[in-house]
């Protein structure tokens, strides 16, 4: 038993790939390879061999591979590296001693000369990186404005009744970003209403003014939170979907196919998506407002012991029509932003899986940034106007 193991070890040791340099007078050398040259089991480093050859200052190099028992591309790589190093120093290499297959593979690898692309994978210096970033940002702004302009042109075509898109597509998108979104919008706005009421209840109970929870929830939902939460949900749900879909279509050249047929992708793809989202956002927001108020009522009635009539009467008195209209108006604008961001990022997406992922991410980020910025702008304007 023990002897069998010893034999095995000896065999493995004998099969290890080795390379030795045999010097020939006056200035030649033979590389002697032996063993099994399988790259998966590790290979000798060519660097030491090359160093030894350099030191000897050889002018002629030959190979002897008669003792190689098996080989794969590991041997080819090794020989190529040695050849690359020594031929740079005007050494004549005689490849006759190599196995036929190795010689032919090397010939194949050398058949198409290396393309000098000037690309090294090194990171450019920091100044160049800042410059590249600046140029990229400037281009992105131009492209964004371009897109905005083009979508206005498409809208103009729609007004004149000349926009080319399929009504069935429009209905499909409406279904996708309207009714199909009700579930998530319900959940989010119900919980938000609930949370608002909880927070308010704790504070207002200190003054014995629990009834004003109804005011807090109603005004916050209709004026601000209903719209912005719906918009954020839609940017994650629908804006990202737009970007991914258009990006993949771009990858498959489907958008090019439309363009070559003289069908404007802006009208055919972007317009239905924008229209659908602009139409659905205010409706979803109204729905979110109601569900949010319902969520508040659950706390008000269930926890604070207010009667349902009392709570809803208080809510009715608290919400002015202007609050409601402000919320709806803002949500229409939010719809435009979510649709624009999704479609823009999708249309300008690169043609690869990674680029489509990037487009979807970027659509959500762009949309949310602009949503918050515009909500702030609205707040300032409305404050100045005294609403």
């Amino acid at each position: 038993m023990h002897t069998a193991v010893d034999v095995n070890v000896a065999l493995v040791a004998a099969a290890d790939p080795t390379v030795a340099v045999r010097h020939l007078e006056p200035d030649g050398a033979v590389l002697e390879f032996a063993g099994a040259w399988h790259s998966q089991h590790g290979l000798p480093e060519p660097a030491s061999t090359v160093a030894e050859l350099r030191e000897a200052g050889i002018r002629h190099l030959a190979f002897d591979a008669r003792r190689v028992t098996a080989w794969d591309s590991g041997l080819v790589t090794f020989v190529l590296q040695v050849l690359g190093e020594v031929t740079a120093e005007a050494v004549a290499a005689d490849r006759a001693g190599l196995p036929d297959g190795v010689r032919r593979l090397i010939a194949m690898a050398e058949a198409v000369p290396e393309r000098q692309t000037g690309r090294t994978g090194a990171v450019p210096p920091w100044l160049a990186r800042i410059g590249n970033r600046a140029i990229a940002t400037a281009t992105a702004i131009t492209v964004g404005l371009d897109f905005l302009g083009e979508s206005l042109v498409a809208l103009g075509a729609l007004v004149r009744g000349r926009a080319r898109f399929r009504v069935s597509d429009l209905l499909l998108v409406i279904q996708e970003c309207g009714p199909r979104a009700l579930g998530i919008v319900s959940l989010i706005s119900f919980l938000i209403g609930l949370i608002l009421a909880f927070v308010g209840a704790v504070q207002l109970a200190q003054f014995g003014a629990s009834i004003f929870v109804a005011n807090l929830v109603a005004i916050a939902m209709t004026r601000e939170i209903g719209g912005i939460m719906t918009a954020i949900v839609m940017s994650g749900r629908t804006g990202a979907a737009f970007a991914a879909q258009l990006g993949t279509m771009n990858t498959n050249q489907e958008i090019d196919a439309l363009a070559t047929m003289g069908i404007s992708p802006m009208e055919f793809l972007v317009l239905p998506r924008m229209l659908a989202l602009i139409a659905m956002m205010p409706l979803l927001t109204v729905y979110a407002d109601l569900v949010g108020i319902l969520g508040g009522a659950v706390v008000g009635i269930g926890m604070l012991g207010l009667s349902p009539t009392e709570y809803f009467e208080q809510t009715r008195a608290a919400v002015k029509v202007s609050d409601f209209l402000i919320g709806i108006t803002k949500s229409s604008v939010f719809g435009v932003i979510v649709a624009l961001a999704g479609c823009l990022r999708g249309m300008q997406s690169g043609r690869s899986a990674a680029a489509v992922g990037l487009a979807a991410t970027s659509a959500v980020v762009t949309a949310i940034v602009w949503l918050i910025v515009l909500d702030g702008v609205f707040a300032v304007i409305l404050n100045v106007l005294g609403f």
């Binding site: 998966q40 590790g42 591309s73 593979l105 198409v112 994978g121």
Partner: protein
């Protein structure tokens, strides 16, 4: 082989010998690529099995399947390179994952593989920056990264210029000769079929089964089935072919 209840091909039975170039041919939609997907373990056959060296693939445990797959290299129709990695990283990933080689040696092997498919110097390019034909060749380089025992090619020469296509055929033959690899090639390019195939199977989309096995040159001249002869003569019928030669 079937998608749901839709049978693509039935009653397939053939043997690929070690060290031969085996071509799967047939018209478009006859199920060539589907057959390849079954052979490489991507799709489970509705009935039947694929056997490697007497070892069943589809009845094996998932560990044995993993081990068998280690011996495969697959080159896909449109390259299927991972788009977030450079060509060098694409080819290097299997080496990094399955060998203990230091990264410098991996880099050298990657350069060799890319040079073999005529892409020396394109190491740092991303898949989106090179042409379709180059993608395809890089896919071939990735398939042979680990010097697999069996290499599968799905339409290797479709979309390549004649010179690259010819070089790829030479490479297939060379890898077979020097490394002793077995090649399974799906193709319907006649010049390529005649140049490389030792053996071939012909899938017929009409009858949904294989209707011929053998060396394509022999099949062209002697196959009893007229469909196969017509295919291998680019649609020319027997009489026209006779007219040309006489």
């Amino acid at each position: 082989m079937a998608y749901g209840s839709f049978v693509i091909q039935h009653d397939l039975d053939f043997v690929v010998e070690r060290g031969e170039v085996f071509v799967i041919m047939g018209g478009s939609g006859s199920g060539k690529s589907t057959l390849l997907n079954h052979m490489v373990g991507l799709k489970t056959p509705a009935r039947g099995d694929v056997v490697y060296d007497g070892e069943s693939f589809w009845r094996a445990t998932s560990e044995s399947q993993e081990r068998l797959r280690r011996h495969f290299g697959v080159s896909f129709q449109s390259g299927a390179l991972w788009s977030s990695m450079t060509l060098a990283e694409n080819v290097g990933l299997p080496l990094q994952t399955f060998t203990q080689l230091p990264s410098r040696q991996i880099r050298e092997i990657v350069s060799l593989k890319l040079a073999l498919v005529g892409l020396a110097g394109y190491e740092e390019f991303y898949p989106s920056e090179v042409s379709g034909g180059m993608l395809k060749r890089a896919g071939v380089a990735r398939a042979m990264a680990l010097d697999p025992d069996i290499l599968f090619f799905d339409e290797p020469s479709a979309g390549l210029d004649p010179i690259s296509s010819r070089r790829l055929d030479d490479l297939i033959l060379e890898l077979r000769d020097s490394l002793g690899a077995t090649m399974v090639v799906v193709t319907h390019e006649l010049p390529s079929i005649f140049a490389i195939a030792d053996n071939a199977v012909f899938l017929d989309g009409e009858t949904r089964t294989m209707i011929a096995v053998g060396n394509p040159k022999t099949l062209r001249d002697e196959c009893p089935n007229p469909v196969v002869r017509t295919f291998l003569r680019r649609g020319e019928t027997d009489s026209a072919a006779r007219g040309m030669t006489s």
